[in-house]
Every structure is written in structure tokens, then in C-alpha cells.
């Protein structure tokens, strides 16, 4: 009897009881004979029926309580019955790499899907390392969905390419379509959004985030029908052109269930006030431009509007916010758990005042204009803080007097002991500071430190930053995601391989001294799923040392390393269930494999690869 470990506590009790009962049934000597006669219960339908007293419906009922796709994958491996029960009860599909499986395979296995999450390009495509037209086009998936899942309700895409035609197809093929979320996608324009707004009569969610899209104007918003009142989530913060405020206001007014509203910069403060008056029930708000000359009574109205939003948990937008208008937020700050100031270039004093009113903050995103002083204020005002992200206001500025340093990070770690997620862009760091930080906050699950000058050593000792990351992996045993930077030798990777037993994602740039580094990671981190490396001296020996590892991972990315085509070909030959793809830079040596992308797949090599992607 296989044991299934589940993380979903909701179903755990039910399943525990079920499993225990099944176990006892299997232990029954009367049944044992039939079980022994067939080596694998999966092959003999009779034996499985007799060993499971519950009809399939019960099994399915229990399994339908499972939501985590990881749990479901585990369940499906128990036996054929469970595999079948699971596939009939799965309604949410999560595909972390769209090329790891094909639409046909998915259609065959899962008959009843209502919600799909699809991720496409490798993460480094966010930073222009993947050429345009690389792929991850969603259209073939949509065609399959239209055939097999006509009652599809939700589609969440990340780093996929989709055209306006695809959006029109989506809008018109699924009558019950409810939720569309596009993050870091490209290839479409506001015309596609128009189609969605026009045809999806039951739309509850339209979430458009940070996509490379052609913005032909805000007319799409006006395409929502006047009968549409079902919207719960509307996020168009990253679109640039003006929308009709009139249309937006009417939409907000009639969508009484609206809980997330994130507008774009074209919405002014007084317009925002009018919207808030109609939607005080909002849980998440993204403001428009936060800079406008207001009359005193407009200011007061805005203040009142914010204080009436009693349920506000998350606040973002705040473009061009200044100390003049920030006070209108104070009343709403008390209930805030997430404050995203990463588009507001605040100074330390302004941030200090804001966080002083926000004692319940769990997540905070800021620009490094707040400086170390601003972070000190965070440390003293937000004891419940769990996540901090500090983005650089001027990433290409080399002046050390701007931005944050190790002092700010230290200050936060002193005050916010529950910190477990950090993304920190800085220009200087020391090993000692990081060691202290992880002593203060040993529960880090995500540690992403970006020292912006590649290969920058500890600025006090001039040593590599190996000990910093060594401290992180030794102390933070729950670490799942790590991004390293600064001057690093193989020692960092030895530490990672030795101590980071829960590490799932590792990002490496301008680091390491030899193949040994990468080998240590591949041989050491049992739970590694995603490894992305750029500009590091890892070569063929390193690549080939992970031959058995890559099938347990989602993907490997190596760019500007020392890998050659011959090693890639060898890898491709030895591992048929791995797709090994190479992209070469212009004018580079024929033997160099400039960009290597390796991922496991049951669908075989890509059939839609453009000419610059070599599938080996």
C-alpha cells in the first residue's frame, strides 16, 4: 500500500480515515488471496473493486476536496483507481511550463477543467534575455480548450504570448468565462481587451499586469456592456492611455461585488474620490496619479472617502505621490496589510509617517529613495512585517549615495522578526550584515539579494560574499528561493549544496569560479526545481553533472556561460525526455551554446520553435 503524504489539511482528516480504512480492508485475509493473485491491483479490475469497499463516487467526493495540484499529483500515483478518480475530479489545471505537456495530452487526461493556469517563457525573458517570437503562444491551447472544456471559466497566463485574435477567440468561445489574468504576457493590444469586455457577459475578473502590449487607447473600458455588474476584480494599472472616466464610474457603481480595483495613471485624485464613494467595500485599491492640485474641500472629500474604506487591506499605485497628499491615506492605513509604494519615489520622512499609521503591515514594497532611514522607520513601526521588497529608483545610477545599504536591511531585520520574504536591491553589502540579518530572521523562505554592481565584494573587507549566503543557507532551513549576487566563488555553491535542503529556485548571475560550483548545487539540493544562471563560468562538466537531476526539475537556464553545443547534444541524446534548446547570439562561435534552456517534457521537442531556437 503506497502512502500518500498530503499537505492539504482540509482533506487530511477525511483522507486519513479513508486510507486507514482501505489499509485495514487490504489487510483482510479473505481479500489477501485475490490481491496476491494479481501482482498489480491496477491491472485487475476485479481485485480493485473488492479491495475498495467504497464506490467510486465516495472516492471522488473525498478527492474533490483536494485543491493543491501537488497533492493531486501525489494522489494520482497511488493506483489506477485513484488516478481515475483524481482526473475526473480535477477542475483546476496548473501547468508550470507550457511546453512540458501538450494540449492533446491534457485533453485526454482531464475531462472537467474549469480553471487553467499556464506559464510560458523562462523567467529571464522578463529581463530581455529571450528574443521576441520565442514562442509560448496560447492559441493552440485555446483551440483545445474550446473543444474539450467549453465551460472554462478562468484563464491565468504568465509569460505567454497571445494575440488579439486569441483574445477574441477566448471571448467568444466560452459562454461562462469569468476570469482573465495576464501577467508579463505580450503580443496583444487593447483591441483584444475590448473583445473581452464586449463578449464576456459574466466577467468577474480582468487582471492585466505588466504586459508588453500595444496600447491603442482606453476605449476598451467603455466596451463593457451596461448590464455588466459582475466584476469583482479590475486591474488595468499598467495600461498607459486614458480611459473614459464616465464609463469607469458607471461600471464601478453597478458592480457591487467589486473588491479589487486598480486603476491607471490617467485617473486623477478627484476622480479617485468619486470612485471610492461608490466602492467603499474595496479590499484592494490601486490608485491613479496621486498628484493634483486639490481645493481644500476636495482634499477633505478624499480623506473622507479613504476613511470610509473600512475593508481596505492592500494599497498600490500612488504614482507621483508627495507628502502633500499622503496624509489622506492615514485613516485607511490602519487596516492595511499590503502597501505597494514601488512606484512612488518617497523620501524617508514620508515613508516613516506612512508606516507609523500602518502597524498591521505584512507586506511592503518600496523604492530605495526612502533610504536606510526610511527602512529604520519600517523596522520600528511594522513588527508584523513578513515581506519586504526594495526596488531601485535609478538602477543604472552608480552613485553610492543613493539608495539603500546594508544598514537599512539590518534595521528592518531588528524590528521585523517575522520577515520571511525579501527582495533587496542595493549597491553595497557585507558578509557580517547578512549573517546578523539571518540571525534576527531565521525564517526566510525567499531571500533575493541583488547587489547591483556585478561581482561586488564585501565593501568593508573586500572579500567575496560567500559567507553571507553561507549564513543564509545554514540558518534558514526553510529556504525555498534564493537569488545570489556580488563577488562569489565556488564556496557559495558548496554551502548551498550542503545546507539548502529545501531550496526550490536558485538564481545565479556573475558568480562562481568553476564547474565545481554548479556541480555542488546539482548534487546537493534535493528539492531543486528551477535553476537559472547567467554570466557565470560554468561549463560542460557542470551541465552534464546534472544529467539525472534535470528530469526532477522544471527547468534549467544557462546563458553566457561556458557551455558548448557538443555537451548540449550529448545531454539531449542521453535524456530523451528532456528538451534541450539552444539559442545562439549573433556573431558568436558556432561551438558556443550561448543560451541553453533544458526542461522536462512528455510532449517531445517543440513543434513551434522559431528558427533561432535549436531543439537538440
Amino acid at each position: 500500500m503506497q502512502v500518500v503524504w498530503l499537505s492539504s489539511s482540509l482533506a487530511l482528516r477525511d483522507l486519513q480515515a479513508f486510507i486507514l480504512h482501505s489499509c485495514s480492508m487490504q489487510m483482510d485475509p479473505k481479500l489477501k488471496k485475490t490481491k496476491d493473485s494479481s501482482s498489480n491491483s491496477a491491472n485487475s479490475p476485479d481485485s480493485t473493486h473488492s479491495s475498495f469497499p467504497f464506490p467510486d463516487e465516495v472516492l471522488e467526493r473525498v478527492l474533490s476536496l483536494l485543491h493543491s495540484h501537488k497533492d493531486r499529483s501525489s494522489v494520482s500515483l497511488v493506483c489506477k483507481d485513484w488516478y481515475n478518480a483524481e482526473r475526473w475530479t480535477r477542475t483546476k489545471l496548473f501547468i508550470g511550463n507550457c511546453y512540458s505537456v501538450s494540449p492533446e495530452i491534457v485533453a485526454r487526461r482531464f475531462p472537467r477543467i474549469k480553471s487553467v493556469t499556464l506559464k510560458g517563457k523562462p523567467r529571464f525573458s522578463d529581463f530581455n534575455l529571450v528574443p521576441q517570437y520565442w514562442g509560448a503562444d496560447v492559441h493552440s491551447w485555446l483551440v483545445m480548450f474550446a473543444k474539450v472544456y467549453p465551460f472554462l471559466e478562468e484563464l491565468r497566463l504568465k509569460r505567454m504570448t497571445l494575440s488579439d485574435e486569441s483574445l477574441k477567440f477566448l471571448a467568444t468561445s466560452f459562454p461562462g468565462f469569468k476570469a482573465l489574468s495576464l501577467l508579463s504576457c505580450d503580443g496583444f493590444s487593447t483591441d483584444g481587451l475590448k473583445a473581452i469586455a464586449t463578449h464576456c457577459k459574466n466577467l468577474t475578473e480582468l487582471d492585466i499586469q505588466e504586459n508588453g502590449i500595444d496600447d491603442f487607447g482606453g476605449g476598451w473600458l467603455s466596451s463593457f456592456s451596461e448590464n455588466c455588474s459582475s466584476l469583482e476584480v479590475l486591474n488595468f494599472a499598467s495600461l498607459s492611455s486614458d480611459v473614459s472616466f464616465d464609463a469607469l464610474e458607471k461600471l464601478v457603481r453597478r458592480c457591487k461585488s467589486l473588491r479589487i480595483l486598480k486603476v491607471n495613471k490617467s485617473i486623477s485624485l478627484d476622480q479617485l474620490q468619486q470612485l471610492l464613494v461608490h466602492a467603499p467595500q474595496l479590499i484592494e485599491l490601486g490608485t491613479g496619479s496621486f498628484q493634483q492640485e486639490l481645493t481644500p474641500w476636495q482634499y477633505e472629500d478624499l480623506e473622507t472617502a479613504f476613511s470610509n474604506c473600512k475593508n481596505l487591506q492592500a494599497l498600490s499605485g500612488l504614482w507621483e505621490a508627495t507628502s502633500l497628499h499622503l496624509p489622506v491615506l492615514y485613516a485607511a492605513c490602519a487596516s492595511l496589510t499590503f502597501l505597494n509604494l514601488s512606484y512612488a519615489a518617497l523620501q524617508s520622512g514620508e515613508l516613516a509617517k506612512l508606516v507609523a499609521h500602518s502597524p498591521n503591515l505584512r507586506r511592503l514594497w518600496v523604492l530605495d529613495t526612502v533610504g536606510d532611514k526610511g527602512l529604520e522607520a519600517v523596522g520600528s513601526s511594522c513588527p508584523l512585517l513578513e515581506e519586504l521588497r526594495v526596488f531601485p529608483a535609478d538602477p543604472y545610477e552608480l552613485d553610492l549615495h543613493h539608495g539603500v545599504t546594508e544598514a537599512g536591511f539590518l534595521a528592518v531585520s531588528h524590528g521585523c522578526r517575522k520577515l520571511h520574504y525579501v527582495l533587496y536591491f542595493c549597491r553595497q553589502m557585507t558578509n557580517a550584515a547578512v549573517a546578523t540579518i539571518v540571525l534576527n530572521c531565521p525564517d526566510f523562505t525567499h531571500f533575493r539579494l541583488c547587489i547591483m554592481n556585478p561581482g561586488e565584494p564585501d565593501y568593508l573587507t573586500n572579500e567575496p560574499m560567500d559567507e553571507a549566503f553561507g549564513a543564509v543557507v545554514k540558518t534558514c532551513t526553510n529556504l525555498r528561493r534564493l537569488a545570489v549576487s556580488g563577488l562569489l566563488t565556488d564556496l557559495t555553491f558548496k554551502y548551498i549544496g550542503k545546507y539548502a535542503k529545501n531550496l526550490e529556485t536558485l538564481s545565479v548571475a556573475f558568480a562562481g569560479s568553476s564547474d565545481r560550483g554548479m556541480q555542488c548545487v546539482l548534487q546537493g539540493c534535493p528539492k531543486l526545481r528551477k535553476l537559472e544562471i547567467r554570466d557565470s563560468p560554468f561549463g560542460n562538466a557542470a551541465l552534464l553533472s546534472g544529467v539525472e537531476k534535470y528530469e526532477t526539475m522544471r527547468s534549467l537556464w544557462m546563458s553566457a556561460c561556458n557551455v558548448t553545443m557538443s555537451a548540449c547534444r550529448l545531454l539531449a541524446k542521453d535524456m530523451p525526455r528532456l528538451n534541450v534548446e539552444v539559442m545562439r547570439d549573433e556573431g558568436s562561435d558556432d561551438r558556443q551554446a550561448d543560451k541553453v534552456y533544458v526542461y522536462r517534457s512528455v510532449a517531445g521537442p517543440r513543434r513551434d520553435a522559431p528558427p533561432f531556437v535549436l531543439s537538440l
Partner: protein, 363 residues
Amino acid sequence: MSPPLLGVGEDEGHSNAMLLASLASLERMCKNGSDLKEQNYMGLSDCSSVDSSNISITSKDNSGRGLNLKATELRLGIPGSRSPERNSEPCPLNSVKLDEKLLFPLCPMKTVVTGNKRGFSDAMDGYTEGKDISTLEVNLTPLPRPSVNPNVKVGSAKEKPATQPAKMKEAMSQNAVEEIPHNKSENILNHVNRANNEKSAPATKAQVVGWPPIRQFRKSTLASASKNTEEVDGKTSGTALFVKVSMDGAPYLRKVDLKTYSAYQELSSSLEKKFSGFTINQYASHGAPSKEMLVESKLNNLLRGSEYVLTYEDKDGDWMLVGDVPWEMFINTCKRLRIMKSSDAIGLAPRAVEKMSRQKIAT
């Protein structure tokens, strides 16, 4: 001999001609009769090839390779700039970065600033005062080579401020005038060869593709935010000046870049096109409407009643009628535009009319 002063806003062809003319006159100073066309300090004819190589360089994520090629770029120094440490520096890229920074504050190609270079404004002042020539010539002799900054090219595909290139051209052509005679092509080639042999030093700090790892949306948002703050600070950044245009009764607003117009006439006709189906008062092309026209057109407005009036919100938050002040003053104070129904604008018009009529009576 004073260098030919080039007017602001000249086009490439004109400045090219001026450049060649001045070169001919300074021929006696030129020790090497090299083919100056090849040097192309202005980045005029061959700018596309160098620019494209520049672009392809940045598209490589291999910083080492990219930096080497960058090292071969020719750069043009601002007159009066000293860089005695050029010879000793391992990498020749630390040339005119300060000037770049001042001239193109949004330019992503920033590097460490070294050397005592006069600021751009200093250089420009030097020109206008006319005392530059002898000092410049003296200053330039220690320069081992001229350098052209391809980023400064006027015709490049990158977004560059509209007014700045004109000033830059002036400066560049001056530089070219001064520097070419002092610099043999041999120097340039030698330096190019030297640069090719050099390893890219970390001190160059040229931009690496995709580093730091920040998403494109955030990068472009922050870039435009810094542009906005510059405008607010009153710097003549020369970047676009977008203002919202709303029209009473129109379902959505538009944005116009005021810098693309040079007169009220252009603005009004452009807005007409954008919001087709209405008319704006025709203002005199030179910016200041004649009094008679003003009175008449406004009277026509009132009479016809269905006409629209173009108004704007100024820095103080007041709504003003477009056309009263000179164009330059207008674009500096205008925050947004509104096309009002003339019936709503009654409060604005009669005062002007009354003022006119009172003035008429007075004279």
C-alpha cells in the same frame, strides 16, 4: 579665427556644410590630409552603422564581449574639457560621460565620471562669449584623440530631447572644427587598435543587458517618472510635454504633446483633427491674436452658441482662455486643456471683450 557660429535648430545637412566649410578654412592646421568623411564625428552619414553595432552590442548579454566593442567607439570631447588621464586609463570609455550625463540625463549609458570636464553650460557660455578659441585650442592640444559619442547622434533611433540635439550639434560641430585639425586619423586608428587589444575593465561599468534584473514595465515607469519630475522642476529637458485634453461631451480624453507645436494655429488644427466635429477659434499664427480678431471671434462664439472654446488650466489652477499669452509662455504654464462649450465659457469671454472695448475707447 573664430569658429562659425551655428544657429540653433539647424538640420543635419546645413551643419554638415558648415562643418566642411570650416574645415577647409582650417586646412593649414591639419597635418594629415586624411579623409575626414571616415571620421564622421558628427555621426552623420555612418551613424546608422555605428549605431546598429551599438545596439547589437547591447543586445548581447555577454558583458565582456560587449564592452570590448564599446571600447572602440570614438568619442567627441566637449571643448575645454581636460582629460589628461586618458592615456593612462586602461579603458578609453571614460571620456565624455559627464557631458552625456548633463546633456542626456535620461541616457542609460552611464559610466563612472572621471576627469575635470567643464559642464555643458560652461562650454556653451564659452562659445557665446567668444573667448573660447584660443583657450580651446590650447586646451585641446593635450588631447590624444577626438572621440565621437555615438549616443549623441541626432538622427539616432533612441528617444532624444528635441531641443537638445540642436545645441549638441552646435557644440559637436564646434568640437569637430577644433579637434579635427589637432587629431590625426592615425591617432584614432591607433587608439582603436589599442582598445581592441585591451580587456574590458570593470571600471567601464557599461550597461549589461537585463541587469539589474528589473522588469521592463518598472524600468519604463521609473524612466518616465524621472522625466516628469524634471519638467516639474522647470528644467528645459526638451522632452515631450504631454497634457490632457478633455472636451465637454466627449467620451474620453486625449493627450497632446505641446512641444510638437510651435504656434496656436498648429495646436488648434491638431485638436480639431482629434476631436473632429468642432471648431476652435483661429488664432493668429504668430501667437498673439490681433485684438480685432479676438473680439470678432469671441463675439461670433457668443452669437453662434454651438461653438467651442479652448481653455487651459495653468500652474495656479486657474482656467484661462487659450491664446492670450505668447506661445512659449503658454506651454510653460499649461497643465491641461479643456474644450469648453462656449456657453460655459461666457465667464471668460466677455471680460476680454470688455477689456478690448474699454481699451478701444481709451485710445
